[in-house]
């Protein structure tokens, strides 16, 4: 089964077009890979890669037991982790419904010189598992970032 030479030539041209344009986009995306991340992980904060007092985003797993609420106002503090480093977050508005310890969260705010992230928005990042309540209760660990603290 041989192809007509003209058609074969056009096929090669199409393949070259797709390959070259994909490579171009691939290189640009690779060069900008750090800007493609929606947020910084806590280890990037620990490594000093995050600018101080600029509006940035952080994401990680809320460390179980770290959530502290103030008695008089909405002020809360919690710690997020990526399994390597931890970051303390302070927030004074209402947390989203799905926000929970052991679940991931994405925080927009400013890193204070004292190393605490002052948040103006907290988003809950839910995982990709869907389970009925009965099944979830019977599972030993249903927390999305228990163990590996995957984000």
């Amino acid at each position: 089964m041989t192809m007509h030479p003209v058609r074969r030539q056009r096929l090669i041209l199409v393949l070259v077009l797709v390959t070259l344009s994909s490579a171009a986009v691939g290189f640009v995306t690779f060069a900008m890979r750090e800007n493609m991340d929606y947020f910084y992980a806590p280890s990037a904060f620990a490594a000093g890669e995050v600018p101080v007092e600029k509006r940035i985003r952080a994401g990680g797993c809320v460390v179980p037991g770290s959530l502290q609420r103030a008695d008089k106002n909405l002020e809360v503090q919690f710690v997020i982790t990526d399994g390597e480093a931890e970051l303390t977050v302070a927030f004074d508005k209402i947390l989203p419904d799905l926000f929970a310890e052991g679940e991931a969260a994405v925080i927009t705010g400013r890193l204070m010189p004292n190393g605490i992230l002052r948040a103006d928005q907290v988003l809950a990042k839910h995982d990709e598992t869907y389970t009925p309540p009965e099944v979830a209760e019977s599972m030993v660990s249903h927390k999305s970032c228990a163990g590996g603290a995957k984000i």
């Binding site: 344009s21 986009v25 839910h126 869907y130 389970t131 009925p132 099944v135």
Partner: protein, 247 residues
Amino acid sequence: MAWQWFHRLGSPRWFYQKTGAWLPWLALASAVLLIVGSIWGLGFAPEDAKQGNSYRIIFVHVPAAFLALAGYYLMAVSGAIGLIWKMKLAFAVMRAAAPIGAVLTFIALFTGAIWGKPTWGAYWVWDARITSMLILLFLYIGVMALSQAVNREQVADRACALLALVGTVNIPIIYKSVDWWFTLHQPATLRLTEASSIDPSMFYPLLTVIIGFYCMYAWTLLTHTRTLLLRREIRTKWVQQVLTEGK
């Protein structure tokens, strides 16, 4: 000749006559699957332990997103076949796929926004998944605009095919964005190579709706392609025959 079947497939008249018989079956299959899947998913599948009932928008969101991505490949491959074999039918399929894909992409983005508010706490964020999906919408709209912008049909066909082919790079980016970068969007639930992380009681209705969406896509694509063929081939004898005899 080994390529004969392929060239016969490229005959608009043959395509029009063959596909006419498939349409009622596809319509029936998609209606049954979508109705059964929707009732099953919305009424009988259990609620999610964390998200409650709000997860049920998955029964529209995921099938629409699946077809938006698969439909782009179909559009680009049709464009490539059109370019290589100068096949009018392939160009007609390519042009028909653009508005359908645009609608599906819009549905995926829109249902995603509705889903995002109660779960994440925001309708829209500029993370890699959502932004690359928006680019997909613009690519579909670009192909649609290009097909209208050029008067000479053959020039428009080729321009659309080139844009569609260049845009294919976006599809693996959309698909892998949640694994390559930190995103707010969660990774894939349905996986081909490993077990899916969704309970079977929710997976089967979802699968039903996905197959229903595929049937509906096929029906819509064939219907739209047939209309485009009649318009493009209006001067030929077979179209005049179809139009006067009504078959």
